[in-house]
């Protein structure tokens, strides 16, 4: 019984790993192909099955007309994502703490309604917000700037931060804050000295979600910029001409996922320590 269970478990883990890894391996292989290698059917191993070409990778680091140089977009993306995530995380954590510890009431609006208001911001399909955001940023002169994107991304990311952190704070006993206040802390002191240091796991998870959704947003980065401020996902589609460059997109997919994969390693550390305890609940 136990043995069968173990075998089944590992088969399942291996099968899923294969499923997870396969697209990356395919992308890795494809990133070294050219049009000829692509059009001659499914080929997997360079040299053996096709003549490798580095044009996919080169096209991502070419300044000039024949490719894009993703270094600047990479830095832009990092700036926008990190700034917006940091602001969202700070504001979202504060709000989530307030909502999890205090009762708010304004007319018929209660805590649960405020929480829902935050989360409901994720429901709206982004497409329809493109034009209003465009007009708004235009008014404040923030079109095609890092600032403008940060503003919009905060609206996208704040709800995520609030959602994760409300769940997280819900798992931290209220008595801990009370204890801190009994021991002489102000409400802010209790939050900063006691709750925050114990929320690292939640912050890591919330931060990770912010980074994921910020880093990978294509739509707003695309609609709200012109020629000066280019983010990473927008840069890559510059190569998506009549013929989709399988090779460049594959190379890009691998490059783009790397910084976040490092975040995954960080998150895993918290998971194995068990200190994500109730990151969500």
């Amino acid at each position: 019984m136990n043995r069968t269970y173990l075998i089944v478990k590992y088969l399942f883990l291996l099968a899923w790993s294969t499923f997870v890894v396969f697209p990356f391996l395919w992308a890795l292989s494809t990133s070294f192909k050219d049009a000829n290698a692509v059009t001659s059917g499914a080929r997997y191993i360079p040299w053996l099955e096709f003549e490798p070409s580095t044009q996919g990778w080169k096209s991502l680091f070419t300044s000039g007309s024949q490719g894009i140089n993703i270094v600047t977009p990479f830095l832009n993306s990092a700036t926008v994502t990190l700034t917006a995530s940091a602001i969202s995380l700070v504001l979202g954590t504060l709000a989530a703490y307030g909502l999890s510890r205090y009762q708010f009431r304004a007319g018929f609006v209660k805590n649960s309604d405020i929480t829902f208001f935050f989360i409901s911001q994720r429901i709206m399909p982004p497409i329809v917000l493109a034009i209003p955001f465009f007009l708004m940023l235009r008014e404040i002169g923030a079109l095609d700037t890092i600032l403008g994107l940060v503003i919009v991304y905060i609206a996208l990311l704040l709800p995520i931060a609030v959602w994760v952190m409300i769940d997280f704070f819900g798992s931290i006993p209220k008595e801990l804050d009370e204890m801190a206040m009994i021991d002489g802390c102000t409400p802010a002191g209790a939050f900063l000295r006691v709750i925050l240091p114990n929320s690292l796991a939640g912050l890591v998870v919330a931060g990770m979600f912010c980074l994921i959704f910020g880093w990978n947003d294509f739509f707003f980065a695309f609609t709200l910029t012109f020629t000066k401020t280019q983010l990473l996902p927008v840069a890559i589609v510059s190569l998506n001409s009549s013929v989709t460059p399988w090779w460049s997109l594959s190379a890009f997919a691998l490059i783009s996922v790397t910084p976040l994969a490092l975040v995954a390693i960080l998150v895993e550390r918290f998971m194995s320590r068990g200190s994500l305890s109730g990151a969500i609940r």
């Binding site: 329809v128 905060i154 294509f218 589609v237 994500l276």
Partner: protein
């Protein structure tokens, strides 16, 4: 009067309001206008756009399709995510590697990853049919048959977002109290019964949160559809978000797409409220 509690909530609330209030009100206003590709402006045409939404079978069909699609894909994500979380929860050889690996798909850029998947599903140049042929399976019309396209979209969604469920559920599992398990062990419950009588009920609150959030996100599915199938074949994979995109930014019927969006928003809020109530009753057995 401002109390300490307000200093926690208000910065975020006011920031979000400041950013979102204009777009939101503007969208509502636009939905009552005839803003279109030839005339940009806020005239007032009453509820004409909404009447059109009401008669737009393509929209309602896409909603129906979406509910089937997201129900299948989110429940697959949940089941698989739960199974994976259970599998690496206890001491597992290579557990850390698995955990990192399982997280990575959700970190990929959907707009790019969908292209990679499209190349994989390519019926004559892609590896999926090529590998299937090794097992003697005839080429599957992944993107050119209604069922295949539907399945492809779901496969990509499951690939990308099962990690989300996995992470949330694993975090939940790790923080479960130990006592109920001791009690179950004393009762002599087997692993199957322990799961259903202890683990699953204890995980219910996390499950509901994760399911609702995934439903919200999954319902916005758009990049995947655009890249993989363009909503086709026919309209077999057209979702409301993609349809709104077509109407709004391809056709540039700004007023009409705003009306579609507001309708969508209201329907989503209503159905998510109902769904979470039902989940509560089903999984926890209580209301609210």
């Amino acid at each position: 009067m401002l109390q300490p509690k307000h200093f926690f909530l208000l910065p975020a609330l006011l920031t979000l309001l400041a950013i979102i209030i204009f777009p939101l009100l503007f969208t509502v206003r636009v939905s009552f206008s005839s803003w279109d590709v030839y005339q940009a402006g806020l005239d007032y045409i009453g509820a004409r756009n909404y009447l059109r939404v009401f008669q737009d079978t393509r929209f309602w069909e896409s909603l129906l399709r979406l509910s089937v699609m997201s129900a299948i894909s989110v429940s697959l994500q949940y089941t698989l995510g739960f199974a994976l979380a259970l599998a690496v929860w206890k001491q597992t050889k290579g557990g850390r590697l698995f955990r990192v690996l399982f997280l990575v798909p959700m970190m990929t850029t959907p707009v790019v990853m969908s292209v990679i998947w499209r190349t994989m599903f390519h019926e004559s140049l892609g590896p999926v049919n090529d590998l299937l042929s090794v097992f003697g399976i005839a080429p599957v019309p992944w993107l050119s048959s209604a069922a295949g396209a539907f399945a492809s979209v779901i496969i990509v969604e499951v690939w990308q977002w099962t990690p989300f469920m996995f992470l949330l559920l694993l975090a939940g599992l790790v923080s479960l109290p130990r006592e109920p398990y001791l009690a179950a062990a004393i009762d002599g419950a087997g692993p199957w019964r322990t799961f259903w009588q202890v683990t699953f009920p204890l995980m219910a609150p996390i499950s509901i949160g994760a399911l609702v959030i995934r439903l919200i996100e999954a319902s916005k599915i758009m990049d995947t559809v655009y890249v993989l199938t363009s909503g086709g074949p026919g309209t077999a994979t057209e979702t409301p978000s993609y349809y709104i995109y077509i109407r709004g930014l391809r056709d540039f019927q700004v007023g009409y797409s705003a009306a579609l969006s507001i309708t969508y928003l209201v329907l989503m809020i209503v159905s998510l409220t109902i769904i979470s109530k039902l989940l509560m009753r089903f999984l926890i057995g209580k209301d609210s």
